[in-house]
Structure formats: C-alpha cells, structure tokens
C-alpha cells in the first residue's frame, strides 16, 4: 500500500486537468458543433479547419506544441495551462461531431411543429431541439469523457507530476516492484473511469423521461 499515497497525489493533477479541460471541451464542442451548421460559409469554414486540424494531428504533438513551441514564439503558458488547452481543444473537436450529428438527428418534424407554433430559432433550440439532441449526445460524450481521462496520462511528458509521473518515480526507486506499481495505476484509472461511467448513466436515465 505504500505506493498508493504518492499515486493518489499524482491523481489530483489528473483530476484537475480532467475537470477543467472537460469544461473547455464542452464549450468547444458546442461552439464548433453549431458552427458547422451555421448559415454563414465563413463560420462553417473556420470551424471545419479547427475540427480537422485537432482531430487529424496527434494529441501528444499538440501538447508539445503548446508547451515547447509556443514559448519559442514568445507565448508563455504554464504546463498546466498547456495540458488543459490541448486536451480541451482536442476533445472539443471530437465532441463537436457528436453535437453536430445529434442536432441533425432530431426529426425534421420537430422543427416544423415548432415553426407552426411560431417559436423563434433560439426558443426552438433551447426548448425543443437541444433537449432531444442532448439525450442522443450522452453516449458519445461518455466515450469521449473516458478517452479524455486516459489522455491526461500524457501530461507527464510535459513535466507535470501526475499519476504516471509519480508511478515512474516510484518504479525507478523500487524496480523489483514495478508490476505492483503499474497494477495500482491501472486500478486507480479504472476506478475513476468507472465513476465517470456511472455519472454518465445517471444523466442518460434522467434524459430518458417520456421514452417508452
């Protein structure tokens, strides 16, 4: 058990990054998801570039960019901020596809009924389309949320003292027990991931109201 305490200390860093980058990813997912469906071509173009660049390049390289390349261009970000921004933008790009496809998946009849009741676009989105799309987004978001959690293990490569970093330190001091150390790391990741699964399930159940 002597390894658990330092590992949990490292986990704090992962959780902090997880929470803040999830918020950023959500924001980006909705901005870009709506952006892809925007009336103006310029908006659609810009969001498409963002989505494809962040989906099409490696997360690790994005982390390196934020942390090593930007300072070389006189933009200074802390390791923590670099981790949060890279993860948030990366998963926001994936999330935007979830948002976009689910908005499109709400039957057209729902929009037509809203227009027939003279609802304006914002009202229609807020009260009719988004609540239905949200329900369909949850499984996709659940997947990405767990992916994001596991993505936080990369931040040790930009010097952050997260759980993976702590594990590597412990390992170099207790090389004979490395299997045990790695096993603990797996268990800790799994427990957090499972907690996220349960949380998402709770939201899914809540959103399922009215569906037979």
């Amino acid at each position: 058990m002597q390894f658990v305490t330092p590992l949990l200390e490292g986990l704090k860093v992962n959780l902090e990054i997880l929470v803040v980058s999830t918020l950023l990813a959500f924001l980006m997912a909705f901005l870009a998801g709506f952006g892809r469906l925007a009336k103006y071509r310029v908006v659609r173009g810009i969001t498409l570039v963002y989505v494809e660049v962040f989906r099409g390049t490696s997360l690790l390289v994005q982390l390196f960019w934020m942390y090593f390349a930007l300072p070389a261009m006189h933009v200074n970000v802390s390791a923590m901020a670099a981790a949060i921004i890279a993860l948030g933008l990366n998963y926001g790009a994936y999330g935007s596809e979830v948002v976009r496809s689910c908005l499109l998946a709400v039957p057209k009849g729902q929009t037509e009924a809203s227009i027939a009741l003279n609802m304006t676009y914002p009202l229609r989105m807020r009260r009719i389309i988004l609540p239905q799309a949200w329900r369909m987004m949850l499984p996709g978001f659940g997947n990405l949320q767990i992916e994001l959690l596991k993505g936080t293990s990369l931040v040790y490569l930009i010097t952050l003292a997260d759980i993976t970093y702590k594990g590597m330190i412990l390992r170099s001091a207790n090389i004979s027990q490395q299997s045990l150390i790695f096993a603990w790391m797996l268990v800790i990741y799994f427990v957090v991931a499972y907690a996220l699964v349960l949380l998402i399930r709770y939201f899914e159940r809540r959103a399922a109201v009215g569906r037979g």
Partner: protein
C-alpha cells in the same frame, strides 16, 4: 352533424394566394395558383399525391418558400414586406409576426416527445404568447377536455395511441387561437379504427369555430360533411372547385372523374360503391 356555417361572401379574404409557384429544380410542384380563403371558410383539398396540395399548406405555414408569387394573410404580405416603398423578401421577424395567425396539424403528429401532454399544449402559450403559466395551463386543460383527453395530461406522447396523439396535436394548435388552421392528411398515419375519433374532434371544432380551415384529406365523406368548398388539385394546378356535392358527385373534368373512380375502387365510399358494384 351540420357543421357548415355561413361564410361571409363579401368579407376580405383571410388568405390570398396570388400566382403562387413552387419548383424543386426542374420539378414544378405548384403552377401559378390563385386562391382566396374567406374568414371562417372551410376548404378541402383533394387530389392525387404529388399534386401539390400539401405544398400549398406548407407555403402558408412558412415551412417552405414560394418560388414566385405572393401570399397575403389578413391583408398583409406573408413572404414579403415593405421597405422604403419596395416589396422585399420578408425577414424572420416579419414572418414571426404574420404566421402567428396560422396553425397546423401534421400527418405524423410531431408532438414533443420529451414533454408530457399538458406541457406540449402549454409550451407555446407560455413561451410564444407569454401568457402567465397558470392561465396557460387552465386554457390548455380546457382544450384537452374538448378533445377528450383531460385524463391523459401527465402522460407522455409515447404512452398514447395514434388517435390520441393526433388529438393532442389538434389541441396544441387550437389553443393558440389561429385565424386559419391547416390539417395536412391528419388521419393518413392512423390505424383505420382510430380515424373516427380524430375526424369527430375536427368536425366539432369546425362547427363552433370562426376559424378558417384548410383540410388536405383522402376522407371524401369527411370533406363532404365539413367543407364549404372542395378543391381538386392535379399537376400543380387547381383543376376544379366548388361545393362538395358538385365536386364529389357531379365532377366535370375528366381528371377528377378518373380520380374519384379510382379512389372509390380502392377505398370504397359508402353507398356510392354499393351502387357501382351493383351496376356492374
């Protein structure tokens, strides 16, 4: 049930289609339609599918934009507005203002699945007409009672039969008190035994309302009972129109005769079919 009311012949039209055309690419769905609907008038549109009758309703509900021509609602342009003395394309704000006088019921109900019945009906009263919640709820309950669903207010749409869903959809549209209501094949998606309850509700509404109605239907008996005027559309044009008796029993054009004959062969039309069969 005699549901027909006297329609004021001289009153200005509540709806006026003027030279309305609609095309999807090369396909001409509506071809220079002129049509006046007077306040309180009940018109039924019959015709083969693809003849443009649904499009006619959808243009009025602003679900689709005409390729050319104008529509006036209560003397006001729907798809156009005046700006600096010129008629320009209407913006969203203008459409919002004018279409408040129009309501529509759809073939596939389109109830909001995430809201229970009472909230489906209340939703636009509260958020569009901005009524206080208590008043909106009272009016919605009254309307649900009228369509015979007062005991289902806290059910969700998925828990109702097709006929019940369509009655909720009718209540939801009616509660907004439109000047004209569009019924787009509202019984076509229903099991045959559920058609009657929906038609009864519409007849009931027609009998007491000052509201104009446009019924797109394949129920000929129903059209005959309710409509002041029946219009037969084919190939994007109004081929023939007149009182139901004239259109349904003494059709003049060959196309309408053919349509009615085919129609009766497929669906049967009470006594007419018996006579036809008897004669053969």
């Amino acid at each position: 049930m005699d549901v027909k009311r006297k329609v004021e012949e001289s009153a200005p039209p509540i709806v006026r289609y003027k030279g309305i055309s609609k095309a999807y690419g090369d396909h001409q769905v509506l071809d220079h339609i002129d049509l006046d609907i007077r306040p309180g008038e009940k018109i039924a549109l019959i015709g083969p599918s693809g003849s443009g009758k649904t499009t006619l309703a959808r243009l009025l509900m602003t679900l689709e934009k005409p390729t050319s021509g104008t529509i006036e609602v209560n003397g006001e342009q729907l798809w156009h507005m005046e700006r600096k003395g010129k008629l320009v394309e209407a913006d969203e704000k203008h459409l919002h203002r004018v279409r408040g006088q129009i309501g529509m019921v759809f073939q596939h109900f389109n109830l909001f699945p995430h809201m229970n019945i009472i909230r489906n009906v209340m939703e636009a009263l509260v958020h569009v007409q901005k009524l206080p919640k208590a008043e909106a709820e009272a009016r919605s309950l009254e309307m649900l009672e009228r369509v015979g669903l007062k005991d289902r207010t806290h059910h969700y749409p998925s828990q109702l039969s097709g006929g019940q869903k369509q009655r909720v959809a009718i209540a939801r549209a009616l509660v907004m008190q439109p000047r004209i209501m569009l019924f787009d094949e509202v019984t076509s998606a229903l099991d045959p035994e559920l058609v009657g309850e929906v038609l009864d509700v519409i007849k009931n509404v027609a009998s007491e309302g000052e509201m104009a109605m446009m019924l797109i239907t394949h129920e000929m008996d129903f059209a005959r009972d309710i409509a002041d005027r029946v219009l037969f559309t084919d190939g994007g044009r109004i081929v023939e129109q007149g009182p139901p008796e004239q259109i349904l029993e003494h059709p003049r054009s060959e196309r309408l005769k053919l349509f009615l004959a085919r129609f009766r062969r497929h669906f049967g039309d009470s006594a007419d079919v018996m006579t036809a069969v008897g004669l053969e």
